[in-house]
């Protein structure tokens, strides 16, 4: 029963995803890969699209995964799942538990959760990178030379931009640049 699975999976994700859209990525990745809904590569494509379209990344991701598995009803159920816990918790805090967040226990719990979530985000990136660039977890190890060079170029552009303009480069701009470089490189490679 795909609809029920989508709703429950995203309810679970919504209930424990601290740290915004990126905090959710490791949870979504586990869910979609273990259920056989998406591959790692498809997941990265979805993240890129969710990042480049308006709206909260978490909602975009949920809609995207939901639609891929169950069409429009799937999209709506996954989205409802991901927002419902946040909605109910905030409703409680806004109405009857104004002082809840100031409790010391809540604060102590969150101080444990935060470094854990940051570690999850960075490790997710590292393991995605290992798979993408070195084929870790696939049948055969390989070295994706183009990917490694591109990663260095992207980092160079982002850091250079920050040095010159004193602000963070827009992720969408960075995605467009990467797409263009990759397209040009592949076309040249295909011709020669």
């Amino acid at each position: 029963m795909i609809y029920l699975n989508l709703l429950l999976a995203f309810l679970k994700i919504g209930a424990v995803s601290f740290g915004g859209g990126y905090g959710m990525i490791s949870l979504v990745r586990e869910t979609v890969v273990s259920n056989g809904w998406l591959t790692d590569n498809q997941m990265m494509d979805f993240i890129a699209v969710s990042e480049s379209t308006p709206g909260p990344i978490a909602v975009n991701m949920a809609t995207f995964v939901g639609f891929s598995q169950g069409g429009l009803p799937g999209a709506i159920l996954a989205t409802v799942g991901v927002i419902l816990p946040a909605f109910l918790i905030m409703l409680l805090i806004a109405s009857v538990m104004r002082g809840f967040m100031k409790r010391k226990g809540v604060n102590a719990f969150l101080e444990g959760v935060r470094p854990g979530v940051v570690a999850l985000i960075m490790s997710t990136a590292v393991t995605m990178g290992l798979t993408l660039l070195f084929g870790v977890g696939e049948e055969k190890l390989r070295i994706n030379v183009f990917g490694l060079v591109l990663l260095a170029v992207i980092a160079g552009i982002a850091i250079g931009y920050k040095k010159i303009f004193k602000k963070k480069i827009s992720p969408i701009f960075l995605i467009v640049i990467s797409a263009a470089i990759s397209l040009i490189f592949n076309l040249i490679f295909a011709i020669s």
């Binding site: 209930a15 995803s17 494509d45 709206g55 854990g116 960075m122 990917g147 969408i172 995605i175």
Partner: protein, 196 residues
Amino acid sequence: MSKGKMVLTLFLTFLKIGAFTFGGGYAMIALLEEEFVGKRKWLTHEEFLDIIAIGESTPGPIAINSATFIGFRQAGFFGSLFSTLGVVIPSVIIITAISLVFDRFMEFKYVQYAFEGIRVCVVYLIFTAGLRMFKGLKKKPHSFVIFSAVAVTFIAFYLFGLSFSSIICILVCGCVGLFVYAYESIRKKREGGAER
């Protein structure tokens, strides 16, 4: 403003925010502040910072957290419901529209070429988002212990092909936080007792 009109205003305002903010929750914060603190003066700057702090400390997308909270403050339950719907509807429409053509779009060779590069960029974006959050962590010893333990476990599990549960991991981290807090307060009490 009557309650019905307030609900409508909230819905339309959040619809606009949902449709025009790129880059997720944190980009949304600037827009929310401009709208509710600057233009409409429904919230003071302090209240707004409180809402963001609560949003960051509760699970779920921060955009949803703030929409629910601001909506409730302005117009009760229906305010929060329609604010949340407003912020979500543009995403659902846009992503559904993209999903309808995405598979066919991905069949083009040129698109595949472009996405090969985009995936590398996504890895970079996730890593640097984590890095920025890492810099914002409170510099406490147990933060670094938790961070290292989770990172090492996650990557080791991945390398050995074991399944890892982020949910359990997050809950365990929270319990470690509680444990450290309990331990520190007991120790403080004892030290306080010894001094006397």
